[in-house]
Point group: C2
Chain length 359, copies 2
């Protein structure tokens, strides 16, 4: 996986830096944006405060995120030498490549997650974990502003700050809708375990909705049209899982509406899986055609409403309405606002050297 590779490089670089003799100040910020969203960074802006005698206390390492990058980094860190604090709104690591299988019940959600505290306990790591979200990174004060993800109703003390000597930013990527209207409101995503569980429920809901009395054939066709926007690995894997789920399980339970079921992949490029070797794309496309999965390549999604998707043919410019029952957006990822904000600060302040590694 690209993730762990980059995370490990970041970790190695970090360890190399902090093993320098005391007093030799380190001042580095490393940002790794792996494809798929792993972002690793560490910052040390202590150059200005260089002291002849280093304080005897352990250096504070704060890690933001418990995904691929964060957990890989922690695996290689000797937690006895640092005061380590981990912040993440999820108290587990999720094995994301299996999320498409969770959507269709092939794999149980519980099987793809590992509680982060259990990971620490197993490895004997002395690490403090807080279930919270990082709202803001303050590189000047060397502190992160956090908010508890588990309720702030207790005397309003859900907010807290943690200061750091080293900061590892491994927050992953956010969904990027490219500001396409309606996507955030009406589409499912497939980045988190909860997303996969919601998709599973939504697929079954579509079958139940289409089974209610007084539904016209046209409506049944609409409700049972599953649309995947984006023909990258996530969308393609989901399409394949969904196809098997429909063919092997659901049509047996809903035989009366089998004929109305359809899966479509909308892809703006000319081929699905276009970042892979063309033979893979050709194989997947012919397999999907045999399975009856429709490929709408060369179409760009320009709007999503509650029951239809407006697509534009890239060659002809003609716009068409695609009625749908459930839609998944797997067409883009982007940078989280807290990271954008942090990078702007670092760029503006210009007092912290930084380096961007884009995998």
């Amino acid at each position: 996986m690209g993730f762990s590779f980059f995370a490990s490089r970041a970790a190695a670089r970090f360890l190399e830096d902090i093993r320098r003799p005391a007093g030799v100040s380190t001042a580095a910020l490393l940002l790794t944006a792996a494809s798929g969203g792993g972002i690793v960074a560490y910052a040390d802006s202590s150059r200005a405060e260089e002291a002849p005698e280093p304080p005897p206390r352990k250096k504070k390492v704060v890690v933001l995120g418990t995904g691929w990058a964060g957990t890989s980094f922690l695996k290689n860190l000797d937690s006895s030498r640092y005061e380590v604090k981990v912040i993440s709104p999820r108290n587990y690591f999720a094995f994301t490549p299996l999320l498409p299988s969770v959507t269709c019940g092939t794999v149980e959600a519980r099987s793809v997650v590992e509680p982060i505290r259990r990971m620490f306990e197993k490895k004997g790591k002395d690490v403090a974990y807080y279930e919270a979200e990082c709202l803001k990174i303050d590189p000047t004060k060397k502190a992160v502003h956090c908010r508890s993800a588990v309720g702030t109703n207790l005397d309003g003390n859900g907010d807290f700050m943690l200061d750091y000597d080293y900061l590892v930013v491994a927050l992953g990527a956010a969904v990027n809708t490219f500001n396409t209207p309606g996507v955030m409101e009406h589409c499912h995503f497939l980045k988190e375990v909860e997303d996969a569980q919601k998709i599973r429920k939504s697929v079954i809901d579509c079958f139940e909705r289409a089974s209610i009395p007084n539904i016209s054939e046209e409506e049944k066709r609409k409700i049972l049209h599953f649309v995947i926007i984006g023909g990258g690995p996530t969308g393609v894997e989901f399409a394949a899982e969904l196809h098997d789920f429909l063919v092997e399980d659901l049509v047996k339970l809903y035989p009366a509406i089998e004929q109305f079921v359809k899966i479509t992949i909308i892809q703006s490029g000319e081929h699905i899986l276009n970042t892979f070797d063309q033979r893979i794309a050709v194989f997947a496309e012919s397999k999907f055609q045999r399975d009856g999965i429709e490929l709408s390549t060369g179409f760009r999604v320009i709007k999503v409403s509650d029951d239809s998707i407006t697509v534009k043919c890239k060659s002809s410019g003609v716009e068409t309405l695609v009625p749908y029952g459930m839609a998944i957006w797997s067409a883009g990822i982007g940078t989280r606002p807290v990271i954008t904000d942090f990078m702007n600060q670092v760029g503006r302040a210009n007092d912290v050297p930084w380096q961007l590694m884009n995998g």
Copy 2:
């Protein structure tokens, strides 16, 4: 189980009735309220419309509910002889005695449910199922008003009516808070699979909340105080499961806050499990005392706020505030409004003979 026993009696009676020669009108309404909530009823008000020649069409049987009573009834019904329609907002049967184990992850939610359509498919039943809620029973028109439980946004056609010759009402019971203020808003219940999943999440959330920085010891004690209101079988089984979950799993993952964890059962009677043989109650009480589970017997809950429960000592009349982190209400069940409404109608109209069997 009381449920299946009563359901089977209802089914037997039903089958006996409908096996009478055609033309001999049946007019019976049977209501079985088994302890725990199974309600089975069937109604046939066709006496007034007696016809010399019965229509050749199959008689319509509508079953409301897919719990113990509804599924037991369906198991014994020859679906080839009737036009059978089943209405329930849950498209699965849940093995409710295992719900306390689901709250603590001992048993996976998926293991205690069976999709109702799969049950029909396995048994070769020709039965139509609609995922919907019954809003109103109209015994005069012999029809049920239903609303789709899977979204009504499709041209507002979520509502529909089904007419019946025989109606089986197996809706189960609702939670009864005895109008205690705050219970509905702040307490968890343990009647549905979703309840069990929410409880599991809530227990872990309490541990995460108590681990956030800047929480006083008093607050930690409050957050980690798990209160069970009602010392019947559900409450007692949940207390035992929760105790094992805390002792065997959670304290290993949250060693720093182990000392603040407490479980309390509030019971208005003098003993827990007071519907059982006293030796069982004594055994459970002494086991709980050894385990450090506090029993507050002889206390009535009079109010629940977001962080404390007001209890009144039944002997002294003194009121006390009990701070808590999570509370479960397992102190009472009652009749669903749609059933109350139906029984009132039947009582008022007085044109349908009815019989109430209370197990």
